[in-house]
Amino acid sequence: MMRRSGFVLTMLAFGYAFLYVPIILLIIYSFNESRLVTVWGGWSTKWYVGLLHNQQMLSAAWLSLRIAALSATISVILGTMAGMAMARFGRFKGRTLFGGMITAPLVMPEVITGLSLLLLFVSLEQLIGWPEGRGMTTITIAHVTFTMAFVAVIVQSRLVSLDESIEEAAMDLGARPAKIFFVITLPIISPAIVSGWLLAFTLSLDDLVIASFVSGPASTTLPMVIFSSVRLGVTPEINALATIIVAIVTTGIIAAGVIMARQERIRRIDEQMASASNA
């Protein structure tokens, strides 16, 4: 028994090291004075300064952030509707196809999604004149389509694991479905919605392949800029950018975790007080 848990511990240590060492090295070398990524030339913040003056990078980052915020918001609305339908509506007409269209984007290779959406946009433009050219609108639509599947699955599994009796009680008391959703269901699934939004936001911010297919000449997103500069060679400026992204993401996740833990604690205290007053 001892030997096996030793094996598991070794694999855990190796696995976590495997996941984190590259990121830590990336951060350390973003402060490297030398342009050569593999030679340590002393501490410096010059690559961060360089990043601030890289106009192309900054405007691409701004475009990516706007697309990510917009597509995550639309995706959360559509994904929550889809998750509700899958978890609460039982059998409805076309449910199998609907379920398939929700799970397939989770695993569909990005090159296929990107190519098929581009061909759709081109055909639509020929047919009805919309969308006029490609750019922020088409990238946003593409991102909503593949991220809403993730939101739907998160919301669905939260709903499925939930007790339906509170919603049923509200229904028995005569509350209308919309009211039940906004007063009871929405607050309970709000953690799932928050993590769905964050996930959709990062997936959109991160996407290179789909955006490359459906973007136009005037809309270059941040991953597209990173990819073309990485292809030319390793530059410490990308390391600096990576460090900033890691810092923002870590802060955001920890903040979201703390807020959600606090809300959960308040909810639990409320429940205890409610059950205490009942007793």
Binding site: V107, P109, E110, L115, F227
Partner: protein
Amino acid sequence: MSQPASSLKTSSSRRLLSRFGLSGRGLVVLVPYVWLLLFFLIPFAIVLKISFAEADIAIPPYTALLDWAEGGMLTVKLNFASFMFLLTDSLYAVAYLNSLKIAFVSTVLCLLLGYPMAYGIAKAPASWRGPLLMLIILPFWTSFLIRVYAWIGILKQEGLLNNFLIWLGVIDTPLNILYTDVSIYIGIVYSYLPFMILPLYATLEKLDDTLLEAAADLGARPVKAFLAVTLPLSMPGIVAGSLLVFIPAVGEFVIPSLLGGPNTLMIGAVLWNEFFSNRDWPVASAVAIALLLFLVVPIMLFQYFQEKQQEAAKQ
């Protein structure tokens, strides 16, 4: 004051909806349904259509499939040239087989590393599980592109790994890892490991420890108990995790194009080049359709398991 006004508005909008035979509930299904039909399903039909077209110097660069012939007859011109091209040029067959091989090996490697990790997390003290799981998910939130890029600096000939190994005295001459199959395996395992661990953890965590105790009481040794009890019961997690790694890995583009070399052809990169460099839309579409045919069975398997899991959670 606002209360009656808003209820008036909702009731009138509901009347409007019901005139079209829709309830609010129907709308909740309809809106995402229409979106997915339009932007997920119909595009595949268009890809299929264009794969049967002929490349043309035009905007868009392919010929029309439907044509009004002389006598007003609608003729369909199906052109199999793109598919024939895939069959005759061995580049495509090599790329498909290589992609399947790389995806399969990476999936097995992910499983070999991910299973003990998921097992370790599931068996850790309850207060540790949350943070340990968080640490698995955290890298997934940082840019995928940048995490793949990080490996270039590590695996290069004069990179950090080689420098480290030479400094240790393990090797004399730098290893050639970057731009080979090995670097692609490392890249895929690194990027997709969380997708393997999360479903595995979900099944292992639910596992009833009393079953293992019963096996031990009956005289089974730990290894036997693991093979007879834990492994079969964690099968749903193994299948879900493997499909979550395998299917996207087959069509992976970023990892082979950054970490792979000229000898590590993968179909995702071939499709990309066909489209962006050669501007041959019909052949790119044919490549996509053929790739989809390879993946139809795994994708349907994945859906089946996903559905079953949601139903199991309900009970």
